[in-house]
Protein backbone atom coordinates (compact mmCIF):
# COMPACT_ATOMS: atom_id res chain seq x y z
CA UNK A 1 0.00 0.00 0.00
CA UNK A 2 1.19 3.52 -0.77
CA UNK A 3 2.39 5.32 2.32
CA UNK A 4 0.61 8.38 0.89
CA UNK A 5 -2.74 6.83 1.78
CA UNK A 6 -1.95 6.53 5.49
CA UNK A 7 -2.74 8.87 8.38
CA UNK A 8 -0.19 10.81 10.39
CA UNK A 9 -0.88 8.53 13.35
CA UNK A 10 -0.24 5.34 11.35
CA UNK A 11 2.92 6.71 9.74
CA UNK A 12 4.33 7.91 13.03
CA UNK A 13 3.95 4.41 14.48
CA UNK A 14 5.81 2.90 11.52
CA UNK A 15 8.47 5.62 11.53
CA UNK A 16 9.29 5.30 15.21
CA UNK A 17 9.36 1.51 14.90
CA UNK A 18 11.94 1.92 12.16
CA UNK A 19 9.77 0.11 9.58
CA UNK A 20 9.81 3.00 7.12
CA UNK A 21 11.81 6.18 6.51
CA UNK A 22 10.59 9.74 5.94
CA UNK A 23 12.14 9.70 2.46
CA UNK A 24 9.95 6.73 1.52
CA UNK A 25 6.87 8.76 2.44
CA UNK A 26 7.98 11.61 0.17
CA UNK A 27 8.67 9.09 -2.62
CA UNK A 28 5.17 7.65 -2.31
CA UNK A 29 3.57 11.09 -2.28
CA UNK A 30 5.51 11.99 -5.41
CA UNK A 31 4.28 8.81 -7.10
CA UNK A 32 0.68 9.50 -6.05
CA UNK A 33 0.81 13.08 -7.29
CA UNK A 34 2.41 12.14 -10.61
CA UNK A 35 -0.15 9.37 -11.10
CA UNK A 36 -3.32 11.20 -10.07
CA UNK A 37 -2.95 14.95 -9.94
CA UNK A 38 -3.31 15.41 -13.71
CA UNK A 39 -7.00 14.68 -13.22
CA UNK A 40 -7.53 16.16 -9.74
CA UNK A 41 -5.37 19.30 -10.10
CA UNK A 42 -5.00 19.89 -6.38
CA UNK A 43 -1.38 21.09 -6.46
CA UNK A 44 -0.08 24.36 -7.88
CA UNK A 45 3.58 23.54 -7.28
CA UNK A 46 5.88 21.23 -5.32
CA UNK A 47 9.58 20.60 -4.74
CA UNK A 48 10.19 16.92 -4.02
CA UNK A 49 13.98 17.24 -3.89
CA UNK A 50 13.81 19.88 -1.19
CA UNK A 51 11.29 17.75 0.73
CA UNK A 52 13.52 14.65 0.41
CA UNK A 53 16.45 16.62 1.74
CA UNK A 54 14.41 17.72 4.76
CA UNK A 55 13.09 14.16 5.16
CA UNK A 56 16.61 12.75 5.18
CA UNK A 57 17.40 14.98 8.15
CA UNK A 58 14.08 14.64 9.95
CA UNK A 59 14.14 14.28 13.72
CA UNK A 60 11.83 11.35 14.43
CA UNK A 61 11.74 12.09 18.14
CA UNK A 62 9.55 15.14 17.45
CA UNK A 63 5.73 14.81 17.46
CA UNK A 64 5.40 15.21 13.67
CA UNK A 65 8.92 14.02 12.85
CA UNK A 66 9.17 12.98 9.18
CA UNK A 67 5.57 13.82 8.25
CA UNK A 68 5.05 15.88 5.06
CA UNK A 69 2.23 18.44 5.21
CA UNK A 70 0.69 20.13 2.14
CA UNK A 71 0.17 23.88 2.40
CA UNK A 72 -2.62 26.05 1.02
CA UNK A 73 -1.14 28.55 -1.37
CA UNK A 74 -1.92 31.57 0.81
CA UNK A 75 0.52 30.65 3.61
CA UNK A 76 4.14 31.83 3.28
CA UNK A 77 6.84 29.14 3.25
CA UNK A 78 10.29 30.69 2.97
CA UNK A 79 11.79 30.31 -0.49
CA UNK A 80 8.69 28.76 -2.06
CA UNK A 81 6.31 30.38 -4.52
CA UNK A 82 3.00 31.71 -3.19
CA UNK A 83 0.25 32.69 -5.62
CA UNK A 84 -3.06 32.76 -3.71
CA UNK A 85 -4.18 31.30 -7.08
CA UNK A 86 -4.06 34.87 -8.41
CA UNK A 87 -2.40 36.17 -11.56
CA UNK A 88 -1.35 39.09 -9.40
CA UNK A 89 1.22 36.89 -7.62
CA UNK A 90 1.72 33.97 -10.04
CA UNK A 91 5.26 33.55 -11.37
CA UNK A 92 6.58 36.51 -9.41
CA UNK A 93 6.26 36.05 -5.66
CA UNK A 94 8.66 33.87 -3.66
CA UNK A 95 7.86 33.88 0.05
CA UNK A 96 10.49 35.93 1.89
CA UNK A 97 9.69 34.39 5.29
CA UNK A 98 7.98 31.52 7.04
CA UNK A 99 4.47 31.96 8.39
CA UNK A 100 4.31 31.14 12.10
CA UNK A 101 2.42 27.90 11.35
CA UNK A 102 5.27 26.84 9.04
CA UNK A 103 7.88 27.67 11.68
CA UNK A 104 5.86 25.62 14.15
CA UNK A 105 5.38 22.69 11.76
CA UNK A 106 9.13 22.60 11.11
CA UNK A 107 9.83 22.81 14.85
CA UNK A 108 7.55 19.78 15.32
CA UNK A 109 9.56 17.85 12.73
CA UNK A 110 7.08 18.14 9.85
CA UNK A 111 8.06 18.83 6.25
CA UNK A 112 6.05 21.42 4.29
CA UNK A 113 5.48 19.82 0.87
CA UNK A 114 3.58 21.35 -2.00
CA UNK A 115 1.34 24.33 -2.60
CA UNK A 116 -2.38 23.68 -2.85
CA UNK A 117 -4.96 25.26 -5.11
CA UNK A 118 -7.67 27.55 -3.76
CA UNK A 119 -10.16 30.17 -4.80
CA UNK A 120 -8.29 33.35 -5.64
CA UNK A 121 -7.35 35.06 -2.35
CA UNK A 122 -9.62 32.48 -0.63
CA UNK A 123 -12.75 34.12 -2.04
CA UNK A 124 -15.16 31.40 -3.05
CA UNK A 125 -16.56 28.03 -2.15
CA UNK A 126 -15.72 25.92 -5.22
CA UNK A 127 -12.02 26.56 -5.95
CA UNK A 128 -13.47 27.56 -9.35
CA UNK A 129 -12.22 31.09 -8.72
CA UNK A 130 -8.61 29.93 -8.98
CA UNK A 131 -7.04 31.84 -11.83
CA UNK A 132 -4.54 29.03 -12.37
CA UNK A 133 -6.39 25.74 -12.63
CA UNK A 134 -9.65 23.98 -11.85
CA UNK A 135 -9.49 21.39 -9.06
CA UNK A 136 -11.83 18.43 -9.40
CA UNK A 137 -13.57 16.53 -6.63
CA UNK A 138 -11.83 13.14 -6.24
CA UNK A 139 -15.22 11.46 -5.73
CA UNK A 140 -16.67 12.85 -8.98
CA UNK A 141 -14.40 14.76 -11.34
CA UNK A 142 -17.36 16.69 -12.81
CA UNK A 143 -17.96 18.26 -9.43
CA UNK A 144 -16.23 20.91 -7.35
CA UNK A 145 -14.09 19.97 -4.35
CA UNK A 146 -15.56 22.89 -2.42
CA UNK A 147 -13.56 25.88 -1.41
CA UNK A 148 -11.76 27.96 -0.83
CA UNK A 149 -9.33 25.30 0.49
CA UNK A 150 -10.36 22.92 -2.30
CA UNK A 151 -6.82 21.81 -3.15
CA UNK A 152 -6.04 21.12 0.52
CA UNK A 153 -9.13 18.92 0.88
CA UNK A 154 -8.88 17.16 -2.50
CA UNK A 155 -5.21 16.25 -2.01
CA UNK A 156 -5.99 14.53 1.28
CA UNK A 157 -9.10 12.80 -0.10
CA UNK A 158 -7.20 11.53 -3.16
CA UNK A 159 -4.33 10.23 -0.98
CA UNK A 160 -1.89 12.66 -2.57
CA UNK A 161 -1.09 14.17 0.83
CA UNK A 162 -0.94 12.83 4.37
CA UNK A 163 -2.54 15.99 5.73
CA UNK A 164 -2.68 19.64 4.73
CA UNK A 165 -3.25 23.12 6.11
CA UNK A 166 -6.11 25.27 4.87
CA UNK A 167 -7.61 28.56 5.96
CA UNK A 168 -11.22 29.23 6.92
CA UNK A 169 -12.88 32.66 6.72
CA UNK A 170 -16.51 31.58 6.26
CA UNK A 171 -16.24 27.79 5.94
CA UNK A 172 -13.26 27.43 3.64
CA UNK A 173 -11.85 24.42 5.52
CA UNK A 174 -15.06 22.76 6.73
CA UNK A 175 -17.03 22.95 3.47
CA UNK A 176 -14.37 21.43 1.16
CA UNK A 177 -13.68 18.82 3.85
CA UNK A 178 -17.38 17.94 3.73
CA UNK A 179 -17.48 17.79 -0.09
CA UNK A 180 -14.31 15.67 -0.23
CA UNK A 181 -15.16 13.35 2.68
CA UNK A 182 -12.30 14.19 5.03
CA UNK A 183 -11.86 15.91 8.42
CA UNK A 184 -11.52 19.70 8.44
CA UNK A 185 -11.07 21.81 11.57
CA UNK A 186 -11.46 25.56 11.96
CA UNK A 187 -9.94 26.48 15.32
CA UNK A 188 -11.26 29.27 17.56
CA UNK A 189 -10.30 32.73 16.38
CA UNK A 190 -6.88 33.46 17.88
CA UNK A 191 -6.01 29.83 18.62
CA UNK A 192 -3.57 29.77 15.67
CA UNK A 193 -1.35 32.66 14.61
CA UNK A 194 -2.26 34.29 11.30
CA UNK A 195 1.23 35.73 10.78
CA UNK A 196 2.25 34.84 7.24
CA UNK A 197 -1.26 33.96 6.10
CA UNK A 198 -2.22 36.33 3.29
CA UNK A 199 -5.05 38.29 4.90
CA UNK A 200 -8.54 38.14 3.40
CA UNK A 201 -10.82 39.18 6.28
CA UNK A 202 -8.63 39.62 9.33
CA UNK A 203 -11.32 39.35 11.98
CA UNK A 204 -12.56 36.04 10.54
CA UNK A 205 -9.53 34.22 9.05
CA UNK A 206 -8.12 31.17 10.84
CA UNK A 207 -5.65 28.50 9.69
CA UNK A 208 -6.55 24.87 10.39
CA UNK A 209 -5.89 21.25 9.42
CA UNK A 210 -7.42 19.03 6.71
CA UNK A 211 -6.80 15.41 7.64
CA UNK A 212 -7.79 11.77 7.16
CA UNK A 213 -8.70 11.27 10.81
CA UNK A 214 -9.84 13.21 13.85
CA UNK A 215 -6.71 12.18 15.75
CA UNK A 216 -4.58 13.68 12.95
CA UNK A 217 -6.47 16.97 13.23
CA UNK A 218 -5.74 17.01 16.97
CA UNK A 219 -2.06 16.28 16.36
CA UNK A 220 -1.75 19.06 13.80
CA UNK A 221 -3.60 21.51 16.05
CA UNK A 222 -1.15 20.64 18.85
CA UNK A 223 1.68 21.65 16.52
CA UNK A 224 0.31 24.89 15.05
CA UNK A 225 -1.60 26.50 17.93
CA UNK A 226 -0.29 28.96 20.47
CA UNK A 227 0.23 32.62 21.17
CA UNK A 228 2.56 34.47 18.80
CA UNK A 229 4.14 37.86 19.28
CA UNK A 230 3.79 38.41 15.53
CA UNK A 231 -0.03 38.23 15.71
CA UNK A 232 -1.54 40.48 18.36
CA UNK A 233 -4.89 38.69 17.96
CA UNK A 234 -3.46 35.27 18.86
CA UNK A 235 -4.73 34.19 22.25
CA UNK A 236 -2.41 33.77 25.20
CA UNK A 237 -3.90 30.61 26.68
CA UNK A 238 -2.37 27.56 28.33
CA UNK A 239 -1.24 25.04 25.69
CA UNK A 240 -3.21 21.81 25.89
CA UNK A 241 -2.83 18.39 24.32
CA UNK A 242 -5.80 18.11 21.95
CA UNK A 243 -5.38 14.34 21.70
CA UNK A 244 -5.86 13.83 25.46
CA UNK A 245 -9.68 13.61 25.53
CA UNK A 246 -10.21 12.05 22.11
CA UNK A 247 -11.40 8.70 23.38
CA UNK A 248 -13.58 9.87 26.24
CA UNK A 249 -16.78 9.19 24.30
CA UNK A 250 -19.92 11.28 24.34
CA UNK A 251 -21.83 9.76 27.26
CA UNK A 252 -23.20 12.58 29.37
CA UNK A 253 -22.51 15.28 26.80
CA UNK A 254 -25.37 17.57 25.85
CA UNK A 255 -25.48 18.23 22.11
CA UNK A 256 -27.72 20.94 20.65
CA UNK A 257 -29.56 20.75 17.34
CA UNK A 258 -30.37 24.26 16.06
CA UNK A 259 -33.54 24.15 14.00
CA UNK A 260 -32.42 27.12 11.89
CA UNK A 261 -29.66 25.04 10.29
CA UNK A 262 -32.05 22.46 8.88
CA UNK A 263 -33.60 24.67 6.23
CA UNK A 264 -36.38 23.81 3.81
CA UNK A 265 -33.95 24.14 0.93
CA UNK A 266 -31.72 21.40 2.31
CA UNK A 267 -31.20 18.26 0.24
CA UNK A 268 -33.28 15.39 1.65
CA UNK A 269 -30.46 12.85 1.37
CA UNK A 270 -28.03 15.18 3.14
CA UNK A 271 -30.58 15.72 5.89
CA UNK A 272 -31.01 11.97 6.30
CA UNK A 273 -27.24 11.35 6.68
CA UNK A 274 -26.88 14.17 9.20
CA UNK A 275 -29.86 12.90 11.20
CA UNK A 276 -28.43 9.37 11.18
CA UNK A 277 -25.13 10.66 12.59
CA UNK A 278 -27.03 12.51 15.33
CA UNK A 279 -28.86 9.26 16.16
CA UNK A 280 -25.52 7.46 16.41
CA UNK A 281 -24.30 10.00 18.95
CA UNK A 282 -27.54 9.59 20.89
CA UNK A 283 -27.05 5.82 20.88
CA UNK A 284 -23.52 6.38 22.19
CA UNK A 285 -24.91 8.15 25.23
CA UNK A 286 -25.13 11.81 24.27
CA UNK A 287 -28.18 13.80 25.25
CA UNK A 288 -29.66 15.47 22.17
CA UNK A 289 -31.57 18.71 22.76
CA UNK A 290 -33.32 21.09 20.38
CA UNK A 291 -31.98 24.62 20.52
CA UNK A 292 -32.47 27.88 18.64
CA UNK A 293 -29.88 30.25 17.21
CA UNK A 294 -32.41 32.91 16.24
CA UNK A 295 -30.13 35.23 14.23
CA UNK A 296 -28.83 32.51 11.92
CA UNK A 297 -30.81 33.86 8.97
CA UNK A 298 -28.84 37.13 9.19
CA UNK A 299 -25.41 35.52 9.16
CA UNK A 300 -24.88 35.49 5.39
CA UNK A 301 -25.91 39.14 5.00
CA UNK A 302 -23.67 40.15 7.90
CA UNK A 303 -20.74 38.18 6.54
CA UNK A 304 -21.03 39.62 3.03
CA UNK A 305 -20.63 43.10 4.48
CA UNK A 306 -17.85 42.42 6.97
CA UNK A 307 -15.70 40.07 4.86
CA UNK A 308 -15.66 42.22 1.69
CA UNK A 309 -15.12 45.37 3.77
CA UNK A 310 -12.06 43.86 5.43
CA UNK A 311 -10.92 42.41 2.10
CA UNK A 312 -11.14 45.76 0.32
CA UNK A 313 -8.82 47.16 2.96
CA UNK A 314 -6.46 44.16 3.11
CA UNK A 315 -6.10 43.85 -0.65
CA UNK A 316 -5.07 47.47 -1.03
CA UNK A 317 -1.54 46.21 -0.34
CA UNK A 318 -1.47 44.66 -3.81
CA UNK A 319 -0.44 47.84 -5.55
CA UNK A 320 2.25 46.69 -7.98
CA UNK A 321 5.00 48.48 -6.09
CA UNK A 322 6.64 46.00 -3.71
CA UNK A 323 5.76 42.62 -5.19
CA UNK A 324 3.44 40.95 -7.64
CA UNK A 325 2.11 42.20 -10.93
CA UNK A 326 3.26 45.58 -12.21
CA UNK A 327 1.60 46.87 -15.34
CA UNK A 328 3.83 48.05 -18.17
CA UNK A 329 3.02 51.70 -18.65
CA UNK A 330 4.37 55.19 -18.34
CA UNK A 331 1.49 56.93 -16.59
CA UNK A 332 1.32 58.32 -13.10
CA UNK A 333 1.29 56.39 -9.84
CA UNK A 334 -2.52 56.08 -9.65
CA UNK A 335 -2.63 54.62 -13.16
CA UNK A 336 0.09 52.17 -12.21
CA UNK A 337 -1.98 50.99 -9.23
CA UNK A 338 -5.11 50.66 -11.32
CA UNK A 339 -3.52 48.91 -14.26
CA UNK A 340 -1.52 46.51 -12.08
CA UNK A 341 -4.54 45.56 -9.94
CA UNK A 342 -7.04 45.33 -12.77
CA UNK A 343 -4.83 42.97 -14.76
CA UNK A 344 -3.92 40.92 -11.69
CA UNK A 345 -7.29 40.31 -10.00
CA UNK A 346 -10.08 38.01 -11.18
CA UNK A 347 -13.81 38.80 -11.20
CA UNK A 348 -14.77 37.55 -7.74
CA UNK A 349 -11.92 39.49 -6.15
CA UNK A 350 -12.89 42.69 -7.96
CA UNK A 351 -16.54 42.16 -7.09
CA UNK A 352 -15.79 41.77 -3.39
CA UNK A 353 -13.39 44.71 -3.32
CA UNK A 354 -16.06 46.93 -4.87
CA UNK A 355 -18.75 45.64 -2.52
CA UNK A 356 -16.46 46.21 0.46
CA UNK A 357 -15.50 49.67 -0.74
CA UNK A 358 -19.20 50.53 -0.97
CA UNK A 359 -19.93 49.16 2.52
CA UNK A 360 -17.18 51.35 3.96
CA UNK A 361 -17.75 54.45 1.84
CA UNK A 362 -18.74 57.72 3.42
CA UNK A 363 -22.49 57.94 3.97
CA UNK A 364 -23.03 54.19 3.75
CA UNK A 365 -20.69 52.88 6.43
CA UNK A 366 -23.33 53.39 9.10
CA UNK A 367 -26.00 51.65 7.08
CA UNK A 368 -23.84 48.67 6.21
CA UNK A 369 -20.58 48.11 8.07
CA UNK A 370 -21.57 49.44 11.49
CA UNK A 371 -24.92 47.71 11.31
CA UNK A 372 -23.26 44.41 10.38
CA UNK A 373 -20.93 44.71 13.35
CA UNK A 374 -23.93 45.08 15.64
CA UNK A 375 -25.70 42.09 14.12
CA UNK A 376 -22.44 40.21 14.60
CA UNK A 377 -22.84 40.87 18.32
CA UNK A 378 -26.31 39.29 18.20
CA UNK A 379 -25.04 36.24 16.32
CA UNK A 380 -22.23 35.84 18.81
CA UNK A 381 -24.68 36.13 21.68
CA UNK A 382 -26.87 33.38 20.17
CA UNK A 383 -23.92 31.02 20.62
CA UNK A 384 -22.94 32.27 24.07
CA UNK A 385 -26.51 31.70 25.23
CA UNK A 386 -26.69 28.26 23.59
CA UNK A 387 -23.44 27.07 25.13
CA UNK A 388 -24.82 27.77 28.59
CA UNK A 389 -27.08 24.78 27.99
CA UNK A 390 -25.15 22.48 25.63
CA UNK A 391 -21.56 21.24 25.27
CA UNK A 392 -21.52 21.30 21.48
CA UNK A 393 -23.83 21.98 18.55
CA UNK A 394 -24.49 19.64 15.61
CA UNK A 395 -25.41 20.93 12.15
CA UNK A 396 -24.95 20.09 8.50
CA UNK A 397 -21.84 21.62 6.92
CA UNK A 398 -23.62 22.48 3.71
CA UNK A 399 -27.27 22.11 2.62
CA UNK A 400 -26.19 20.16 -0.47
CA UNK A 401 -23.45 17.78 -1.58
CA UNK A 402 -20.79 19.08 -4.01
CA UNK A 403 -22.32 20.85 -7.02
CA UNK A 404 -21.15 20.42 -10.61
CA UNK A 405 -18.53 22.79 -11.95
CA UNK A 406 -19.95 26.14 -12.97
CA UNK A 407 -23.40 25.54 -11.47
CA UNK A 408 -23.68 28.91 -9.73
CA UNK A 409 -20.90 30.76 -11.51
CA UNK A 410 -23.14 33.53 -12.89
CA UNK A 411 -25.06 34.02 -9.66
CA UNK A 412 -22.72 34.89 -6.79
CA UNK A 413 -25.60 35.48 -4.37
CA UNK A 414 -26.86 31.93 -4.85
CA UNK A 415 -23.38 30.60 -4.13
CA UNK A 416 -23.04 32.85 -1.05
CA UNK A 417 -26.31 31.49 0.39
CA UNK A 418 -24.83 27.97 0.42
CA UNK A 419 -22.45 29.21 3.15
CA UNK A 420 -25.35 29.46 5.60
CA UNK A 421 -24.17 26.69 7.94
CA UNK A 422 -20.51 27.61 8.24
CA UNK A 423 -20.38 31.41 8.31
CA UNK A 424 -21.75 32.10 11.79
CA UNK A 425 -18.85 30.24 13.47
CA UNK A 426 -16.39 32.71 11.93
CA UNK A 427 -18.51 35.69 12.95
CA UNK A 428 -18.66 34.33 16.51
CA UNK A 429 -15.01 33.19 16.59
CA UNK A 430 -15.92 29.68 17.76
CA UNK A 431 -14.32 26.41 16.60
CA UNK A 432 -15.96 24.00 14.18
CA UNK A 433 -15.06 20.66 12.70
CA UNK A 434 -16.44 18.81 9.68
CA UNK A 435 -16.47 15.02 9.75
CA UNK A 436 -17.71 12.75 7.01
CA UNK A 437 -20.94 10.90 7.87
CA UNK A 438 -21.68 9.07 4.64
CA UNK A 439 -22.30 9.49 0.96
CA UNK A 440 -25.34 10.45 -1.07
CA UNK A 441 -26.28 10.15 -4.70
CA UNK A 442 -26.68 13.26 -6.83
CA UNK A 443 -29.97 11.96 -8.25
CA UNK A 444 -31.96 8.73 -8.25
CA UNK A 445 -30.02 7.36 -11.23
CA UNK A 446 -26.52 7.59 -9.81
CA UNK A 447 -24.66 5.73 -7.13
CA UNK A 448 -24.06 7.11 -3.65
CA UNK A 449 -20.64 8.65 -4.07
CA UNK A 450 -20.83 12.26 -2.88
CA UNK A 451 -19.61 12.72 0.71
CA UNK A 452 -21.66 14.56 3.33
CA UNK A 453 -20.19 16.21 6.39
CA UNK A 454 -21.56 16.84 9.86
CA UNK A 455 -20.44 20.03 11.54
CA UNK A 456 -19.71 20.10 15.25
CA UNK A 457 -19.46 23.58 16.75
CA UNK A 458 -17.99 24.25 20.16
CA UNK A 459 -17.76 27.22 22.50
CA UNK A 460 -14.79 29.56 22.17
CA UNK A 461 -11.60 27.56 22.88
CA UNK A 462 -13.73 24.40 23.03
CA UNK A 463 -11.75 22.43 20.44
CA UNK A 464 -11.31 19.52 22.85
CA UNK A 465 -15.01 18.78 23.07
CA UNK A 466 -15.69 18.97 19.34
CA UNK A 467 -12.73 16.67 18.64
CA UNK A 468 -14.12 14.27 21.23
CA UNK A 469 -17.54 14.19 19.56
CA UNK A 470 -15.96 13.88 16.11
CA UNK A 471 -13.84 10.94 17.28
CA UNK A 472 -16.95 9.13 18.48
CA UNK A 473 -18.50 9.40 15.01
CA UNK A 474 -15.34 8.13 13.39
CA UNK A 475 -15.43 5.01 15.54
CA UNK A 476 -18.94 4.07 14.47
Amino acid sequence: MSLASLSITALRTQLTAGEITPVQIIDDIEKAILANDSEINAYLSYDFDKAREMAANADLSLPLGGIPIGIKDNINTLGEPLTCASQFLADSYIAPYDATVITKLKAAGAIPLGRLNMDEFAMGSTTGNSSIKRTNNPHDLDRVPGGSSGGSAAAVAANMAIATLGSDTGGSIRQPASHCGIVGLKPSYGRVSRYGLVAFASSLDQIGPCTKSVADAALLLNAISGVDEMDSTSLDVEPIDFTANLNKGVAGLKLGIPKEYFTDGMDANVREKVKAAIDQLKAAGAEIVDISLPHTEYAVATYYIIAPAEASSNLSRFDGIRYGNRAEQNGNLIDLYKDSRSAGFGSEVKRRIILGTYALSSGYDHKYYNKAQKVRTLIRKDFTDAFEHVDAILTPVCPHAAPKHGENSDDPLKEYLEDICTIAANLAGIPGISVSVGKVSADEHSEEKLPVGLQILGPELGEEVILQVAQQLEEV
Binding site: S92, I94, G190, S342, K367, T377
Partner: protein, 97 residues
Amino acid sequence: MSKDHIDVNYLANLARLNLTEEESITFQRQIEDILGYINKLEELDIDGIEPTAHASPVFDRVREDVTKPSLERDAFLNIAPSVSNDQLKVPKVIEEL
Protein backbone atom coordinates in the same frame (compact mmCIF):
# COMPACT_ATOMS: atom_id res chain seq x y z
CA MET B 1 -36.79 49.59 2.01
CA SER B 2 -34.73 52.27 0.35
CA LYS B 3 -32.71 51.28 -2.67
CA ASP B 4 -29.41 53.09 -2.86
CA HIS B 5 -27.88 54.09 -6.14
CA ILE B 6 -24.66 52.25 -6.75
CA ASP B 7 -22.14 53.55 -9.24
CA VAL B 8 -19.67 50.71 -9.71
CA ASN B 9 -17.29 52.82 -11.76
CA TYR B 10 -17.09 55.44 -9.03
CA LEU B 11 -16.44 52.70 -6.46
CA ALA B 12 -13.89 51.02 -8.73
CA ASN B 13 -11.98 54.28 -8.88
CA LEU B 14 -11.97 54.51 -5.07
CA ALA B 15 -10.63 50.94 -4.99
CA ARG B 16 -8.03 51.71 -7.67
CA LEU B 17 -9.51 49.36 -10.22
CA ASN B 18 -10.40 49.84 -13.88
CA LEU B 19 -13.45 47.96 -15.08
CA THR B 20 -14.19 46.96 -18.64
CA GLU B 21 -17.63 47.92 -19.91
CA GLU B 22 -18.72 44.31 -19.59
CA GLU B 23 -17.45 44.11 -15.98
CA SER B 24 -19.29 47.35 -15.10
CA ILE B 25 -22.58 46.00 -16.38
CA THR B 26 -22.21 42.56 -14.75
CA PHE B 27 -20.95 43.88 -11.41
CA GLN B 28 -23.65 46.56 -11.29
CA ARG B 29 -26.36 43.90 -11.54
CA GLN B 30 -24.67 41.39 -9.21
CA ILE B 31 -23.81 43.92 -6.51
CA GLU B 32 -27.35 45.35 -6.60
CA ASP B 33 -28.65 41.80 -6.08
CA ILE B 34 -26.29 41.22 -3.17
CA LEU B 35 -27.13 44.56 -1.53
CA GLY B 36 -30.82 43.82 -2.03
CA TYR B 37 -30.33 40.66 -0.01
CA ILE B 38 -28.17 42.42 2.59
CA ASN B 39 -31.00 44.92 3.22
CA LYS B 40 -32.54 42.04 5.17
CA LEU B 41 -30.60 43.41 8.14
CA GLU B 42 -33.05 46.36 8.19
CA GLU B 43 -35.56 43.99 9.79
CA LEU B 44 -33.53 43.88 13.00
CA ASP B 45 -33.76 46.32 15.87
CA ILE B 46 -30.15 47.01 16.76
CA ASP B 47 -30.60 50.07 18.95
CA GLY B 48 -28.25 49.93 21.90
CA ILE B 49 -26.35 46.88 20.64
CA GLU B 50 -22.57 47.19 20.90
CA PRO B 51 -20.70 46.48 17.66
CA THR B 52 -18.32 43.49 17.46
CA ALA B 53 -15.13 44.24 15.55
CA HIS B 54 -13.27 41.10 16.56
CA ALA B 55 -14.56 37.77 17.77
CA SER B 56 -12.09 37.74 20.64
CA PRO B 57 -11.38 41.23 21.80
CA VAL B 58 -7.67 41.71 22.43
CA PHE B 59 -6.57 45.24 23.16
CA ASP B 60 -3.29 46.95 22.39
CA ARG B 61 -0.95 44.09 23.06
CA VAL B 62 2.64 45.12 22.44
CA ARG B 63 5.87 43.20 22.05
CA GLU B 64 8.88 43.56 24.30
CA ASP B 65 11.12 46.27 22.87
CA VAL B 66 14.17 44.18 22.04
CA THR B 67 16.36 44.33 18.94
CA LYS B 68 16.27 41.28 16.72
CA PRO B 69 17.50 40.51 13.24
CA SER B 70 14.99 41.58 10.62
CA LEU B 71 13.97 39.55 7.60
CA GLU B 72 16.46 39.22 4.73
CA ARG B 73 16.51 42.38 2.64
CA ASP B 74 17.45 40.54 -0.53
CA ALA B 75 14.45 38.22 -0.21
CA PHE B 76 12.25 41.31 -0.56
CA LEU B 77 14.29 43.06 -3.24
CA ASN B 78 14.32 39.87 -5.32
CA ILE B 79 10.53 39.81 -5.62
CA ALA B 80 10.07 43.54 -6.24
CA PRO B 81 8.93 44.33 -9.79
CA SER B 82 11.39 47.18 -10.31
CA VAL B 83 14.53 47.90 -8.31
CA SER B 84 17.34 50.37 -8.69
CA ASN B 85 20.32 50.77 -6.32
CA ASP B 86 18.68 48.40 -3.82
CA GLN B 87 15.58 50.56 -3.73
CA LEU B 88 12.08 50.09 -5.10
CA LYS B 89 11.40 52.11 -8.22
CA VAL B 90 8.08 53.90 -8.62
CA PRO B 91 6.79 56.39 -11.20
CA LYS B 92 7.43 60.05 -10.51
CA VAL B 93 5.03 61.20 -7.78
CA ILE B 94 5.94 64.90 -7.65
CA GLU B 95 4.89 66.94 -10.65
CA GLU B 96 6.59 70.16 -11.79
CA LEU B 97 4.33 73.19 -11.50
